[in-house]
C-alpha cells in the first residue's frame, strides 16, 4: 500500500528498478528485517545490562572522592564527565573502566597509589561536579547512614591557623584501619629512614613546610624517624589518628596508631605507610 515503489536498497540506489519485487519476497524481507532488529535490540540491551554483574557481585568496593553520595545514588547521579579528575591537584581521582559495569566512567580513588590529601583546601572536586554526585551537603530527602556523618566539620591541619580551618564535607569517605598490625613498624618499635614508598613511587603530597600550594612527589621528601609515625605525621585531618603505647607500662617503645572519630577516610595514611603491603588502609564507606 504505502510502500514506496522504488525504495531500492541504498547499495543499488542508482540501478534501474523497473520490475517491482514480488510482494511475497518483500514480506519475507520485512519479516527477516524485523527478526534482525529484534536480535539487535536483545544484543545491545543485553550487553548494557551486563553492567549489573559487577554490582550484583559487589566486585571491588571503591573509595569515592570526598562528598560522594551513597554508592547507589552516586552511580545514578554521576554523569561520567571527569571534571573532578581535572581539578584535583594531586590527580588522586581516576575513572573506572568497563569492567565495573554501571560504574564505567565513574571516579574513584586508589589511595595506595595516590590518596586525596586535601591539598586543594576547598575540596575542588565537589565544586567541579555538575550533577551533585559529589556534594558538600546532601539534599534533605537523602538518608544519611549512621556513623557516616562526622561529629564536627573536619579541621584541616594545613589550615589550622586560617580563620576558617574546616573542610566543608559532612560525611566520611571511609575509615582508616590498621589491617596488618603485625607489619606496622611502630608496633615493632622500629624507626624509618628513606623514601616512604621507594624511588619509583609516583604519588604526590603537599608538605606545608615545603610549599603550601604545590604538592611534590613523595619520593622527593625522604624521612628519618626513630619511631615510624608517618601515618600520624602526614594525616591531613586534626585529631584523626595518634600513636598510643602498644602495651601498658613504661619501658616499651612499641606504639600503635589509633584512629579516632574525626577520620574522614582520605587514605593518606594508606599511601604513606612504608611497609609492603600497607599496614594501615582505608575501609571504603565504613562508618564510625
Amino acid at each position: 500500500m504505502g510502500e514506496a515503489d522504488k525504495s531500492v536498497p541504498e547499495q543499488a540506489a542508482g540501478a534501474p528498478a523497473k520490475k517491482p519485487p514480488l510482494s511475497q519476497a518483500r514480506r519475507q524481507a520485512a519479516r527477516r528485517r524485523f527478526i534482525r532488529s529484534a536480535l539487535l535490540a536483545t544484543g545491545v540491551i543485553g550487553f548494557s545490562l551486563l553492567g549489573y554483574l559487577p554490582v550484583v557481585y559487589a566486585k571491588r568496593p571503591r573509595l569515592r572522592p570526598p562528598g560522594a553520595l551513597d554508592e547507589k545514588d552516586f552511580l545514578a547521579s554521576c554523569i561520567k564527565c571527569g571534571q573532578c579528575v581535572q581539578v584535583c591537584p594531586v590527580r588522586a581521582i581516576r575513572l573506572a573502566d568497563l569492567d565495573e559495569g554501571f560504574g564505567v566512567g565513574v571516579p574513584y580513588i586508589d589511595a595506595r597509589e595516590q590518596a586525596c590529601d586535601f591539598s586543594c583546601d576547598a575540596v575542588q572536586c565537589v565544586l567541579a561536579c555538575p550533577t551533585g554526585a559529589l556534594v558538600y551537603r546532601k539534599p534533605v530527602f537523602m538518608p544519611v547512614r549512621e556513623g557516616a556523618r562526622l561529629a564536627k566539620p573536619p579541621i584541616l591541619r594545613a589550615k589550622e591557623k586560617d580563620p576558617e580551618p574546616t573542610l566543608e564535607i559532612r560525611e566520611r569517605m571511609g575509615v582508616a584501619k590498621l589491617v596488618r598490625p603485625e607489619a606496622c613498624l611502630a608496633m615493632q618499635g622500629k624507626g624509618f629512614k628513606g623514601q616512604a614508598r621507594g624511588a619509583d613511587f609516583k604519588g604526590r603530597m603537599r608538605y606545608m613546610d615545603v610549599d603550601r600550594w604545590k604538592p611534590i612527589p613523595v619520593r622527593e621528601h625522604p624521612y628519618n624517624v626513630d619511631l615510624c609515625d608517618l601515618c600520624v605525621r602526614e594525616c591531613p585531618i586534626q585529631g584523626a589518628i595518634s600513636l598510643e603505647p602498644a602495651e601498658p607500662g613504661a619501658g616499651s617503645s612499641r606504639m600503635t596508631p589509633v584512629v579516632h572519630e574525626p577520620c574522614v577516610g582520605c587514605g593518606v595514611c594508606e599511601m604513606i605507610c612504608p611497609v609492603e603491603p600497607t599496614a594501615i588502609a582505608v575501609e571504603e564507606r565504613a562508618v564510625w
Binding site: 540506489a13 539487535l40 548494557s48 553492567g51 554521576c78 554523569i79 564527565c81 568497563l98 567541579a128 555538575p130
Partner: protein, 322 residues
Amino acid sequence: MKGQLLDSVKVMLGREVRKPERFSGKARQIHQLKRLNKAEFEAAKEHARAHGLRGNKWRNRRWAALIAANLLFVVSFWLDIQILEGALTASRFVGFHMIDLNSALQVMLAHKHILVNLVIGTATIFLLWLLLGGRTFCSWVCPYHLVAELAEKLHLKLAEKKIVTGHEFHRGSRTVFWLLFSLMTWVTGYTVFETVSPTGILSRALIYGPGLALGWILVLLLFEVFYSRRAWCRYVCPIGLTYGAVGILSPVRVYYRLEHCFHEGDCRKVCLVPHVLDAVIKGRSPEAEMPIGPDCTRCGLCVDVCPSGALRYDIKGLSKLL
C-alpha cells in the same frame, strides 16, 4: 508545510517514507517539465556532470571542527589551559556549564533529582544545538561519528568487492532503544545507556586515557564493517534521536531545490540517513524548494557530492536576507 514537518518527524521515529499525496503547483510544474523535455533534461544533466563542482569542502571542514572540538577537551586537561573542561557528557566551557542532553536525561531519570547546575547546563546545550541544527552534534562533534565514517568507507569497499553484504534493520529500532533505555534507567536507577555509549566512552578515552571500554567500540566498528553499514548511528543511538528532536525547529538545515536536481541519487548513496533525502527521487518532491528532515545530521556529504547545487546549507530567514 505543517503536514510535512509532522511527516518528517514520524519518519525520524521510524515510519516508512511514503510518496507524498499532495504536490505544490510549482513542484508539479517542474516535475512535468522534466518529463516533457527529456532530451533537454538529459543534456543539462550531462552538462552538470561535466562541469559540476564536487569536492570534499564540507567534509573537510566538518572533520576539522570535530577534531578541533575533541582536541580542545584533550588539551584543556593535558596542558591545563582550562578552556573546555570535562568530557562530552558534561563539561564547562570557560566556566559555563554544558551538559549533553541525553546524559542529563539519563541522570535525571536514574537519580530522580534535579540540580540547578544540571538544568543550566542542559538548557545551554539545548539552545546551542537548537541554533546549530540538532543532529549537527552527531556529525560535527561526536567522535564515534568520525571513526564510524572511516569504518563505513571500509564497509563500502568490501561490499563493492562482494566480500560483505549490508544488512538493514528497522529504523524504528532507534525509537524503541530510546524508550527502552529511558525505561531501564528509570526502573534500575542506573544510567544504563552510559555503559554502552560509544560517544561517552570515546570522549573519555581521548581525554583520560584508553581502557577496556575501547573493546566495545571495536566490536561496534567490526559489526558495522562486516554486517550492517553505520548500524549504531542509524538504528541504535538514542543520542541521535534526542538531538534529532532538537533539530525539528532548528534554522540550520540542508535545503533542496527541485529545479536544480537531476535525480541521480549520489546524495542518497553517501547519506547516513537516506530516508531524509526521499524528496530527491524523481517525481517525489512535494515542493519546489524544501528543507530536508530533522533526522539529517547536517554533515554536508550530500552538499559536497551534488554536481548541480540542488542541495545546499541554509539558515532559515538568514539565507533569504543575504
